[in-house]
Structures are given as structure tokens and as C-alpha cells.
């Protein structure tokens, strides 16, 4: 059981690598700024003082998902599959 946990931990680390990779790619391609601009709109709409995290999340997340450029999506999926294949055995 111990080894299993170790493996799991290792995988999380690696996933974290994926996470960072995704973030870097998204920033690089401007996704982040786009979304941030959208945030501004939301904030202006809701009022600066009363914006909550939930508000933002609800508004932003779906849009964010959509906005991810295809190239980024493809690459990420590729990596994930590779990752899974690596650890499938």
C-alpha cells in the first residue's frame, strides 16, 4: 500500500507539472488577459465593492473553458494521454 501512495504522490507531482505547463501556455497565448478583461467587465457590472469570488467563478469559468485555444487544448490532451499511458501499467 505504501508504494501505491508513493506512486500516487509522484503522479500528482507530475500532474502538477502539467498544471504549470497549462498555465504557462495559457498566459503565453493571451488567454489569461482575455479572461482578465472579461473579469473587469463583470466587476464593473457587479460593482467593485461587492464582487465575490463566487460571482467571478460563475461568470468566468465557462467562458474560460471556451476560450482555450485549440492548439493548447490539443497539446495538453496529448500530454495527458502520454502521462496516462506511462502510468497505466
Amino acid at each position: 500500500f505504501y508504494w501505491h501512495c508513493v506512486q500516487q504522490h509522484a503522479r500528482f507531482i507530475e500532474r502538477f507539472g502539467l498544471k504549470e505547463l497549462l498555465r504557462a501556455k495559457l498566459t503565453e497565448c493571451g488567454w489569461r488577459d482575455q479572461l482578465k478583461a472579461h473579469c473587469k467587465d463583470v466587476i464593473k457590472e457587479k460593482g467593485l465593492e461587492h464582487v465575490t469570488v463566487e460571482d467571478l467563478v460563475v461568470e468566468i469559468t465557462p467562458k474560460g473553458r471556451v476560450l482555450v485555444p485549440d492548439s493548447v487544448k490539443k497539446e495538453l490532451l496529448q500530454r495527458i494521454r502520454a502521462f496516462l499511458a506511462q502510468h497505466a501499467t
Binding site: V57, G64, R65, I80, R81, A88
Partner: protein, 362 residues
């Protein structure tokens, strides 16, 4: 999200693909959330809108890419050729020359007093009168520089060209005490240390010697411009120089606040030398001094008896307050010293190794 690590091998491709998609959307959502949190925090902390500037001010700071102009649009040489009016002399001075001009003009720079002194000295030589004006503020300004300075001051190149003041390293060792005593002194100190003692009149020599070491270097024939306590020369040397330059009858009594002891010399060299206080005195000079008595001073130097606390200006002792010139320097010195009853803290050495130098010079 938990890792399906146990049964991955058993999954078929579609499931694997679905899994991959899941993971992917998870990752994306995670990124979005991260952004939300960031933005929210920025909003609450108040720095969210900081990078928004209006178009107008953006234009003001736009990067400029023209030749001859820096990226802010400023010209490099713009102020170089402008002229300023000096508040002191009301002359119009070029901007790049303004600072050095001010230094000279206000008499506050490092070299300005030297130049002025030199001028005074040369006019002294011509007019044969002593200038009483000395820029005391120079003393103040030189204080910070000269207090701890131990620069070699053997050679002083005169600084004829005001535009390129050479950093001559002579030390002006004027302290506050010194300036106080100066005020009482009818003959103010000349800072012009032409160093070449031959060009200086007796008055200037005297005043010089009261502030500076003055020991004449053998190879350059120039007077040491360091302070009276300069470690390179002994008190004996200084005294010898004074005797040499001013004559045994030279150097009247110093001022009231100058300190001269008429006790016997101390025999110990080392302590005496380094512990000697700066001596500021012999500028009250009787006009009877002359340099002609140099020969006799040499003799008198060698004959000087040991005394305890004799000041550096043994010359004074030889001169005495208007005492006879050159007659048995030793005895006259003693009598004159008795007259000066002030207490001088540091003893001085009587035996100068220096006279040999002066013999050569003679």
C-alpha cells in the same frame, strides 16, 4: 481528482480518452479558478485597476524613436549651451562651466583658496605688505577635507589653469583652533604655500610656518605643506627650518593663546614627535627678522640645550621677542622662552637632524 492507477491497464481507449478529457477539463478549470482568486484578491486589495491608464497619459510617455533624442523625447545636449547668470559676479557663464566657476567665485571650492592665496602672495611680493584678508570660510570648508587627511604634500603644483584644477594634494591643516588664533593675529595666515620658500617674503614665511610643517625637502627644496604634526618630519626639522628661514632673531612671540613652554626639552625623541600639538604661534613677527642670519641659526641649532617642553617653533625661541639677532642662539632662545609662559602640552626635541639639509642649501 483521484488517480485511477489501479485499473488503468484494463481500460479501453475510449475510456482512456474520456479520462484524458476529464483530466484536461479539470486542469483548465483549475487554471480558471486560479485566475478568479487572483482577480478577486486584486479587487479587494485595490490594485486591480492599477495598470489602466487613459490614452492621453499613455501618449505622453510613449517611447520615442527619433534620432538625436532619447526614448523619452529629450535632447541630450539641451542644457549644455545654455548660459546661466552667476549670482555672485553677475556674469553669464556657460552651463557646463558653471559649477567650477561658482567654486572660484564664491571662494568655497578646494582650489579656490589656493588661487586666491597665490594671488595674494604675489601681490604681497610686489607690494610688500601683508594681506590681512583671509577667507576664513575656506578654513571651514577645508576642515572636512584636511582633518583626517594624510596625503603626501611634498610637491605642490601650482594650479594656474582654473579650468582644470589639478588635484594637488597639499594638506591644509587648518583647524578650528587655528582659525581662532588667527583672528587675534594681526598677520593673517596665508595659505599660499608657494612651497618655494625663496619666493616668499618673510611675513608670509612666518605665517606659513605657523600653520604648516614647512620642512624643506632636500631634493625638491620645497617646504612641506603638511600640518605641524606631519609624521614625516621631526619637530627639530621644523624648528631648524624656521631658524633657517626666519633667522634666529626672527619670529616674535606667538599669540596669547598659542602655547609655548619655556621648560627644558625632553630628551626622548619618539614620543615628543608624534604627540606634539599643533603649534600656532609664530606669526607675530618683528620686522627685524631677516633671512640673512641663516648661517648663524645653523650654529645656534646645534648648540641648543635640552629643554623639557619646548614647542615646535624653536624658531621662536631663537628669535625671542625682538631679541638680538643671532647672538648665541641658545641663550637668547632660553630667555625669550622664559618670557612666553604659556603652557604647551607637548615637548619638543631640540636636536634637529635637518640642519644638514640647510647647510647644503646654503
Amino acid at each position: 481528482m483521484k488517480m485511477e492507477d489501479m485499473s488503468l491497464s484494463g481500460l479501453d481507449n475510449t475510456k482512456l480518452e474520456a479520462l484524458a478529457q476529464d483530466i484536461y477539463s479539470d486542469l483548465v478549470e483549475d487554471a480558471c479558478l486560479g485566475l478568479c482568486f487572483e482577480v478577486h484578491r486584486a479587487v479587494k486589495q485595490g490594485y486591480f485597476f492599477l495598470d489602466d491608464t487613459d490614452q492621453e497619459s499613455m501618449k505622453d510617455f510613449e517611447i520615442v524613436d527619433q534620432p538625436g533624442v532619447d526614448i523619452f523625447g529629450q535632447v541630450y545636449n539641451q542644457w549644455k549651451n545654455k548660459e546661466c547668470v552667476c549670482p555672485n559676479c553677475n556674469r553669464s557663464i556657460a552651463a557646463s562651466r558653471f559649477a567650477p566657476h561658482l567654486e572660484k567665485c564664491l571662494g568655497m571650492g578646494r582650489n579656490s583658496s589656493r588661487i586666491a592665496n597665490r594671488r595674494i602672495a604675489s601681490s604681497n611680493n610686489m607690494n610688500n605688505k601683508s594681506e590681512s584678508d583671509q577667507e576664513d570660510n575656506d578654513d571651514v570648508n577645508d576642515n572636512d577635507w584636511s582633518y583626517g587627511s594624510e596625503k603626501k604634500a611634498k610637491k605642490r603644483k601650482s594650479d594656474k589653469n582654473p579650468n582644470s584644477p589639478r588635484r594637488s594634494k597639499s594638506v591644509k591643516h587648518k583647524n578650528g583652533e587655528l582659525s581662532n588664533s588667527v583672528n587675534a593675529d594681526p598677520y593673517k595666515y596665508n595659505y599660499n604655500t608657494g612651497i618655494n620658500y625663496e619666493t616668499l617674503g618673510p611675513d608670509e614665511l612666518r605665517s606659513l610656518l605657523t600653520t604648516q610643517c614647512g620642512v624643506i625637502s632636500e631634493h625638491t627644496k620645497k617646504m612641506c605643506t603638511r600640518s605641524q604634526r606631519c609624521p614625516q618630519h621631526t619637530d627639530e626639522q621644523r624648528r631648524a627650518v624656521r631658524v633657517f628661514l626666519l633667522g634666529p632673531s626672527a619670529s616674535s612671540l606667538p599669540d596669547a593663546d598659542t602655547m609655548v613652554e619655556s621648560d627644558c626639552y625632553d630628551a626622548s625623541d619618539g614620543q615628543v614627535l608624534m604627540s606634539r600639538l599643533q603649534w600656532d604661534g609664530s606669526s607675530d613677527i618683528s620686522p627685524s627678522d631677516s633671512a640673512s642670519s641663516k648661517a648663524s641659526t645653523n650654529n645656534s641649532d646645534s648648540k641648543k640645550p635640552k629643554k623639557k617642553k619646548k614647542t615646535s617653533l624653536g624658531l621662536n625661541s631663537t628669535g625671542g621677542g625682538g631679541g638680538g639677532s643671532g647672538s648665541g642662539g641658545g641663550s637668547s632662545s632660553q630667555t625669550s622662552l622664559v618670557g612666553l609662559s604659556n603652557r604647551k602640552k607637548k615637548p619638543k626635541l631640540p636636536v634637529p637632524p635637518a640642519p644638514s639639509i640647510y647647510d647644503n642649501l646654503n
